[in-house]
Structure formats: C-alpha cells, structure tokens
C-alpha cells in the first residue's frame, strides 16, 4: 500500500506506548516545558488496557515525578503489610525465614497496585498537562529521514481485509513526525526490535537478552481468607529444578488477590507448557485453600525482559531513545520493572529537553542513566538470574551469598549463555509432560481464560503474526520440537491441524486470540514468527491487572 497518500502531523516529541516509561517521559517533559508538543500513541483501546503486571510497586520514581501523588488520589493505596516466601514441593510448603531473604526480596514500604489502573491515572495526569494521547492507535512503522535518522512513526492502517485490501471503512495510517521519537513499547516492542538491529544497539552487550513469561489472574476470594497487604512468593513445584520461575500472590483491595506465575523463557523442554504449569500451581494445597469459594475474574499474560545490565542495549540512536522494558530496565530478582521504567522515562524527559533547548546530543542519555539510581540497582541485581542456569538450589544459595552478604557487589558478572530461542532441546530427547485436566474450578482451559481478558481483534484483517517461512512447522518444527507454539502461547493462537486430504499437518494461527504477550516472537526456535501491530484497539481489554 505504498501508493497511499498519507496525512502528516508534526510534534516535538512522539512517544510510542503509554506504559509507565512512556507516560513518565511525557509527564516529565511537560513539567519542564509545557510548550513542548507531545503525541503519545497507545495500541490498546484505552490507556492501561494492555498493561498486565504483578504488581508490588516501589514508589521511588513516582515520588520524584509527582511528589504529591498521595494528595492527588493516585491509585496506589495498599501498603505491603506482611510477606512470606515459600518453597513448594508437591504436597507441602516450606517457609523461608524472612531474615535470610535478600533485601531485594523484601518489600517493606512498597505498595500492592494495579499497574493498569496506575497507567490510566498517569494518562489522565499527562492529558491535563497537555500531552496528546491517542489510544487505539498503534505505531506500526518507523519513519527515517534522508540521513537515516528516526524521524517519527506511521500509525497502522485501519479497515484492511485479510488480504490487505481496503474495506468500506478503510482509514489509512498517518505519518507522525517528531524531532525526537521515544520507543517505550514495553518488553519486546516490535519497533524496538527493529532499531536494535538497524542501529546495532546491542553490539556491546555482554550477554544475549533474556525473557520470561508472566501470567496473572485476579481472584475475588472468601473475605475470611483475605489479608489486605499480604504478599506471598514461591519457588519450586510444579516447575522442575532446572527451570527458572516462581509465583506471586498479592492481597489487594476489594477481597481480590493478584495471583501469578513467571517462568524464564530459557526453559529447555519443548513439551513444557508455561500456561499449564501455572494452572497446575493453583492446585497446590496451600493455594487451593486460598482459592476455595473464590472466583476468577481476570486473566492475562505478558513477557518480561529479564536480561538486566549484561543485556541492556545502548538506549539512544539518531533521532530516538529506547526506554523502559523496550530496552530492558527491569530488575529481575525483584521482578520489578515499573519504577525503573518510570525512572528511565524521567531521564528521557530531561535529556530530550536538553536536546531540544540546548542542542545537547541524545547520547548524554547513557551517562545520565549511569549516574542514576537505576544503574546502581541493576548492577547490584545482575548476577541473580544467570546463577539460575545452575539450577534452583545452588542459585538460591548463591543468591543468598551474593545479595545478602555482598549486597550484589561481588567483583564478577555472570553471563547469560543462550538466547531464549536457542535453549530448546529436541523433542526426541525430551520428556513428555502430562498435565492434569482442567477442573473448571481452580484450573481452566485457554479459551475460557482468553475470554476473561476481553480479547478481540476486528475480524477480517491481515494476520499480525508473520511467518518468515510459512511451511517451517510442517517441514521442521513439528518433527524437531513438536511445535512448541501450541504450548508457549498463553492464548491458544497456534494450533496444529491436519489437512483431511493430504493428511499433512500444518500450523493454524488464530490471531484473533492474541493477547499481545510477545512470547512467540521471542521463543520460536528459528525466530520464524514476527509479531507486528494489528489494527489499533485490538487485543486484550485488561482492567485492574
């Protein structure tokens, strides 16, 4: 559709993605200079509707950005009151005494929040400062100027049919030009992926990037069992010792608990199904007890970026900055990335202002970042995740020593060995895993889960999951890995069907189910799947997540 005449709009700054990072950058810029014009694009139907996060929140960055957030009634209300850390085996649970927990796992002074609600609130705050936010509009392409610098983005076309032809209501995307473009798409942004490659931003990375997949369900539970402000983490069952992962359970407002599970995407067994591990986890007696008489009201999943400092790419490039989880600022041992994403946005705001007003080069971002508390925090955390390649128990012992005794200051840095898509072992060398049937009370099938996420994509639009080689499943991945997409996708997008005539198996893509978690883009062993933005407004409609 290159012959289309596209409208053009110009701003000082174009920001892609209304997560904590992008919103903080926008707010900071407007606070410094309200004359700077800012356009913020968000692919979700409304701000917050694609945000899914734990979330135990450190207010450090929010305190800096909006010091009077409490007076302004920010949805940050529930203080953490108590916390437990459990090691689970199939029947039992063992409490890890708090005094041996490293500081990074302690949450005194933090809050249990819905990050989705906080983003909604930050969005309104930003709009009141004059930021122009456009929910329902995805940035689908980057624009470059003649010098090869990023010069803005193109929004997605709306109203194309499955073959890419315009329908009645066709509305072409427009070009939005910015003096500076900020990419804050969160973990595995598809534009972020493009610029990392194009500008070689990861050339100096010590390790390949690492990811995890995180699930979250909200349950309304029996008030008798609810304990506002309590948080609970666990490791162990049902995961095998060689798989990195664990659970969280946060007692939030309205008798709700936020129950979730995070699994490292460097897992090896292609038969592993992260979704089913999570479902099975809920049948542990300790968890079942909590959920009995409860009701599941929400479901979602989202990839997390876990590489930390070793994998952090350069964050500036000609014409643009890459911030938050789009770059990889999450602190893995804490599983906290909201405050660091916000801080990276605050720094972006400051740097862009200097760039626009004093002609400073965007590269000062790197130094400002290094001189801030995020860097210290990530440096301290850097060895935890890689130590898990030794297995759970040694890693916990190491982490104890590293974090507790040396405060993360050990004079060496462990490296991540593989990129996540390289970690799978051939199916024939792997153990099949038989997951229990769903009981409809504590555990549920994927369609029922996706149903709760409000996910939808307008029918008859081009598929937003591109296969580089559309026959790869049939010719290779099925045989080699028993097509793991069937299992790693948390929304049942990928199914194997058999052609009734030829009896050939092929990959069927139910793109309508996609909850935009980005796992397939990360984990496909041959990197055969490219996630691109579907028509704006599609995807899940999370609330309270």
């Amino acid at each position: 559709m290159s012959d289309i005449q596209r409208e053009e709009m110009s701003y000082d700054v174009v920001i892609v993605g209304a997560g904590p990072a992008g919103l903080s950058a926008a707010i900071k810029l407007k606070q410094i200079n309200s004359d700077i014009s800012i356009c913020l694009l968000e692919k979700a139907a409304e701000v917050g509707a694609h945000i899914l996060s734990g979330n135990v929140f450190e207010t450090k960055a929010l305190d800096e950005l909006i010091p009077n957030w409490k007076d302004l009634n920010a949805p940050v209300k529930t203080k953490v009151t108590s916390e437990d850390f459990l090691y689970l085996n199939k029947e039992k649970s063992f409490k890890v005494p708090n005094f041996i927990l490293p500081k990074s796992l302690q949450n005194h002074g933090n809050y249990i929040i819905s990050l989705s609600n906080l983003c909604k609130w930050l969005g309104e705050f930003a709009e009141n400062l004059g930021v122009e936010i456009f929910p329902g509009f995805a940035a689908s392409k980057l624009l470059y100027n003649e010098k090869g610098e990023v010069s803005g983005v193109q929004t997605g076309d709306m109203g194309l049919d499955i073959n890419g032809n315009p329908k009645d209501n066709f509305e072409p995307g427009i070009n939005i030009k910015g003096k500076v473009t900020v990419l804050s798409e969160g973990c595995r942004g598809h534009l972020g992926k493009e610029v990392i490659k194009k500008f070689n931003l990861d050339a100096n990375n010590k390790s390949p990037q690492q990811y995890g997949i995180g699930f979250k369900e909200i349950w309304e539970i029996d008030p008798e069992k609810h304990n506002l402000g309590k948080i609970l983490h666990s490791v162990g069952w049902p995961l095998e010792n060689d798989t990195y992962g664990g659970s969280f359970c946060y007692h939030a407002e309205n008798n709700q608990i936020y129950l979730g599970y995070v699994i490292g995407l460097d897992y090896k067994n292609p038969y592993l199904s992260p979704y089913d591990e999570f479902q099975q986890f809920k049948t542990h007696p300790e968890i079942k007890k909590l959920l009995t008489k409860g009701k599941r009201i929400s479901y979602g999943a989202r990839a997390l970026i876990e590489g930390g400092l070793q994998s952090l790419p350069q964050m500036h490039m000609p014409g643009a900055l890459l911030i938050g989880c789009d770059a990889g600022t999450l602190n893995m041992p804490k599983i906290k990335g909201s405050h660091t994403a916000m801080k990276s946005g605050i720094i972006a705001g400051e740097v862009i202002n200097k760039h626009l007003s004093q002609n400073e080069h965007l590269s000062i971002y790197e130094d400002e970042f290094k001189n801030s508390w995020i860097y210290d925090e990530l440096h301290q955390a850097r060895n935890v995740k890689p130590s898990f390649q030794w297995g759970l128990i040694p890693a916990m012992v190491f982490t104890g020593i590293d974090q507790k005794i040396f405060g993360g200051k050990l004079p060496f840095t462990l490296q991540h060995k593989h990129a996540d898509h390289d970690s799978l072992v051939s199916a024939k060398d792997s153990k099949k895993i038989d997951y229990p049937k769903y009981d409809g009370e504590f555990t549920f099938d994927k369609p029922s889960s996706v149903y709760l996420s409000g996910t939808n994509h307008a029918e008859n639009q081009p598929c937003h999951l591109l296969l580089k080689d559309k026959d790869l499943t049939t010719n290779y991945t099925l045989e080699e890995y028993d097509e793991p997409a069937q299992r790693y996708c948390p929304a049942g997008v990928y199914e194997i069907e058999t052609d009734s005539e030829t009896q050939k198996k092929f990959l069927k893509i139910n793109s309508q189910n996609c909850i935009h978690c980005k796992t397939c883009d990360i984990k496909e062993p041959s990197q055969n799947i490219d996630w691109i933005t579907p028509e704006g407004g599609g995807g899940p409609i999370y609330s309270g997540t």
Partner: protein, 317 residues
C-alpha cells in the same frame, strides 16, 4: 383481575409467541383477555376462541390495521390498556415496535424482555445480552411487559371458550405507508430464528462433510451453524458462525456436532432450550452444558440419526 395480551399474528394465524406470552400471563391471573388488532381477522378470532384460559377476545378489525403500523395501533391499545393492571405482548420485533409507544401514551415505564414473573410487580429480565439477570420491582398502576417467548412454554390451545367483543377503531393519521414485506425464503430457515439449529465444528474435517449436516438439517427443518474453527478452516461461510463473535441463537433444539464447547461458542447458544452434543471425546466441555450427550464418532452418528428420523417419519405416516 384480568390480564391483557396484545396478540401477534399475520391476520390469518396467531403466532406461537402469543401462546408463550399467555403462559407468562397465567402466572399473574387465570383470566386472560386477548386483544387482536388487524384486518379481516374474523376467522383468526374464531380460531382463537378455544385457547386455554382466554375468556375474552377484544377484536379491532380495520383495513388500516393490516400492516401493524405502531402509530395507528398504539392509541387504540393505550385506550384499552387503561382498564388493566397488566398488559403483555411478545418481545418480538412486533412487540418491541409497538409497546414502548403505548408506554409513552400512558406515561409508564415498560419492562422489556421479561423471562420470569415473580409476583404481580416483580419481574426478572436479562441485561447485558443475557450476561446478567436483573430483578426489578415497580409500583406503577399499569404494568407493560414484553415477554421473551423462549422463556415460557406455549399454553394449551384448547379448553377455552372466549367471547368476542368488537372494539372501536380510533383513527390516527400518519404519513407512514407500508410498502411490502420480504419474508426471507431460503431453502433452510434463518439461523437467527430457526426452531432447530445444527452446528458443526472442527470435527467435521472439511467442507464436503458438511453436506452430511445439511442432509440432517433438511430432515429437521433446521438451520445450519458452525464453530469458529470450522469457519476459519473454510468448511463453511463466515455468516454461519455461532458464538461470541458470530450469531447468538436460542432455538428450541441446538445440536452441536464435533464442537468442543469453548466458552466463546457457548456464549452464542447457551440459551437454547435443549442442547444435544455429539463428540467422540467424553471429556469435551460441551457435555457440561448438554441436556443429551452422545459420545460417538460423528461420521457414524449422523447417518444413523438420519435413518432413525426416517423410520420415525414412516411410523407416523
């Protein structure tokens, strides 16, 4: 206390939705008055006299009423409705078109789409497309209710001996002219209104096999539907999809064949009166909502059903 029902008909025969509405009214009173507005409805009224518990037929026969133009009907209805505490009509496009207009003339709030009558002033109705059920109470002098026909059985058509009373036609001038009605006439009934729906899923394997379903559908005068998986795989057109993103159906009989029963599919058919599931997987979730489940290979089951139905027809004739 008697209850007034506004009959839905086509000037020749009474629509069965009226019979369902009478059943609903019987929860309020044993004495039913039936208001029939139409043109040349002499025979219709006579044939209606025997309906169970209907004691009086109020007949308004005028050629201007032939095409049920609400602007003309509403003043007549509201004039009579004043004598009753409850006025009911089916929640069909007929009732939906008419009764709100009556409510405006009487200045009362109508209660739409009632599925349960708890007392003379407490009613149950679905909201949010049936995803929530609301119980409401009102203290109005006249209760105007549209009744969801599928929520009530049909009343008996015999046993009554109603008197027929002519009522005066009050003319209202309206610029509205009726031009015509295109009754959808395909070989098979429309998915949305069919009494029986037979849907096929991924288990059908290809579009050729759907012919089996059509054959069965013809025996039952049923509409054919499908799951998304069947539609996406090209076994059948998009307009046949039943479910969250397809059509919502609530037939008397829904037969799901080779469909697993994902929640998105159930969303489109769970209000059917009787659900039958045929699936070879005994654990398929569809069996959790089916009134009758048959665990069997569909390629075996469908021809057998066709045979049984033929047999049945033979016995009957």
């Amino acid at each position: 206390m008697s209850v007034l029902i506004i009959a839905e008909h086509d000037n020749n025969i009474l629509k069965s939705s009226t019979l369902n509405t009478i059943s609903a009214a019987l929860k309020l009173s044993e004495d039913i008055h039936l208001l029939i507005l139409g043109s040349k409805i002499e025979n219709l009224c006579k044939n209606t006299q025997s309906i169970h518990k209907v004691s009086k037929i109020l007949k308004c026969d005028n050629e201007k009423l032939e095409n049920f133009i609400p602007e003309i009907m509403a003043p007549i209805v509201s004039n009579i409705a004043k004598n009753y505490t409850h006025v009911l009509t089916p929640a069909s496009t007929f009732g939906k078109n008419l009764l709100p207009r009556v409510s405006a003339l009487l200045d009362v709030t109508q209660i739409s789409d009632v599925i349960e009558i708890l007392s003379e002033n407490t009613f149950v109705r679905p909201i949010y497309a049936g995803n929530a059920i609301s119980q409401v109470e009102t203290n109005q002098n006249i209760n105007l209710l549209t009744i969801r026909p599928t929520a009530f059985d049909k009343c008996e058509e015999s046993g009554g001996s109603a008197s027929i009373e002519d009522i005066e036609f009050l003319n209202t001038d309206t610029p509205t002219l009726f031009i015509g009605r295109e009754v959808s006439k395909s070989d098979r009934p429309d998915l949305g209104n069919a009494r029986v729906v037979i849907s096929g899923g991924r288990g059908m394997e290809n579009s050729d096999n759907f012919k089996l379903l059509y054959e069965l559908a013809d025996k039952l005068n049923a509409a054919v539907g499908a799951s998304r998986a069947a539609v996406d795989s090209g076994y059948i057109g998009n307009e046949y999809q039943v479910g969250q993103t397809g059509k919502m159906v609530a037939p008397e009989l829904y037969i799901a064949i080779g469909i697993s029963g994902a929640i998105q599919h159930l969303a489109g058919m769970k209000d059917s009166k009787v659900i039958v599931a045929i699936n070879k997987d005994t654990e398929a979730p569809i069996f959790n909502v089916a009134d009758y489940g048959l665990s069997s290979d569909l390629f075996q089951a469908i021809p057998e059903i066709i045979k049984e139905l033929d047999l049945l027809n033979k016995i009957e004739s």
